[in-house]
Symmetry: C2
Subunit: 243 residues, 2 copies
């Protein structure tokens, strides 16, 4: 569920299928106006009847659940093109909030399903999307289950980096969310996130530039530290390129 439509690394080619999945479904939303949502504002609430699906036209969205008092889990960040609520049955099982200024399109769940059912092409696109979500959820479970703080951070940064950046300056990755968001997504505290970034910086792997940018100095090492890399691939290094 983390960062849908994207694999962890650039060198894993997106299948044509996967690209179509997002894009053909996106067309359904074009008939509705793109509503602006300012940063921090909610788009839908956990527990509400899922009458609508949404599409992120622009900006970054977080999906979260709250358990107990003050325990927040961010199950996913969504980016331009992603759908909100594709995998819902009846109710929203998460709250969606704008991380940055967003433009959001909506359509009723009913007509979404009708449109999908109507078109031969959209059913596989929709199914493909659901499968991608499942794969992402799998990844996230592995991260939360067995990775330490450093591996979590590195995995997260690599995933951010592998996404086409809005402003693709050399090795500079935009981090739209704040430290608390990152912490709640990685199952850590804000302090641990901060300390871990500091440690990575001291080892000259990534260097924070302001609150919302990271310069990636040593990508191969970063990938290696993410815990997903083949331990035996000395070429895990040059296989992966940023853009």
């Amino acid at each position: 569920m983390l960062m849908q439509n994207n694999h962890a690394f650039d060198h894993v080619e997106k299948t044509g299928e996967a690209i179509d999945a997002g894009q053909s479904l996106s067309c359904l939303f074009l008939s509705s106006a793109a509503e602006p949502v300012s940063a921090g504002k909610a788009i839908c609430w956990e527990g509400d009847k899922a009458k609508h699906l949404f599409q992120v036209e622009e900006g970054v969205v977080r999906l979260h659940r709250i358990i107990g008092e003050g325990r927040r889990v961010i199950t996913a960040f969504l980016f331009a093109g992603d759908l909100i609520g594709a995998s819902l049955q009846n109710d929203f099982i998460f709250t969606a909030e704008a991380v940055t200024e967003c433009k959001i399109r909506r359509m009723s769940r009913k007509s979404f399903h009708e449109e999908v059912a109507r078109s031969e092409a959209l059913v596989p696109a929709y199914i493909s999307l659901l499968c991608q979500e499942a794969a992402a959820a799998h990844e996230q479970m592995v991260l939360l289950s067995k990775k330490n703080a450093e591996e979590r951070l590195c995995s997260f940064i690599v995933k951010l980096a592998s996404r086409r950046n809005p402003r693709p300056r050399q090795g500079l990755v935009r981090v739209p969310m704040n430290r608390q968001d990152i912490a709640d997504h990685l199952g850590l505290t804000i302090e641990t996130v901060s300390r871990t970034i500091t440690k990575l910086a001291s080892r000259n792997i990534v260097i924070p530039e302001g609150r919302h940018d990271l310069r990636i100095v040593n990508l191969p090492r970063l990938i290696q530290l993410s815990g997903d890399a083949d331990d035996f691939s000395d070429d895990s290094c040059h296989r992966v390129k940023l853009h």
Copy 2:
């Protein structure tokens, strides 16, 4: 992805839709023979091309991934009726192994998708199944992110208990998997699982009877301790009330 087709609690009614989802899809597998798989044996391997889907006819199956050396994550346990690989695109992203003696049916992924596409009724059933998996994956992410050892164990036991037990003796829950399996599913170590069960037993909440059964003595408390419970629900309140 945890224990598909089931909600956490008995009192949460399954929707007719959800039941149909599993059952109508199951029919597709009836044409193939039920192959016996003995405990511990693999059904498919992570990384292999997903040429087949499987259905658990009988027994319990675990899905896992290995990262690094000796780190295993069990992303789900599957029970009779569940499908293995419904949410796959190309390759298996997990290894499936029999926890107990199993009977497994298979069918090619190609013909599965053809059959589903052919039938008006099966598409929504399939989509419904994928959505249930997504919801279960969400739950599991919350558990792994924000719950402590006790809450994890209690959540797990409640989920087991809410599943229709093979031998539904009063408050006795069958636990087919061993401690290591439980640990790898809950993101804990075997020792922590053991200690936590001991602690729950000393508080007279559940009592282990042999290695593979748990007697549930105080279900309301168990639910409360699982961390999912409504803090304001009537009977969790009077229990918590100060003397």
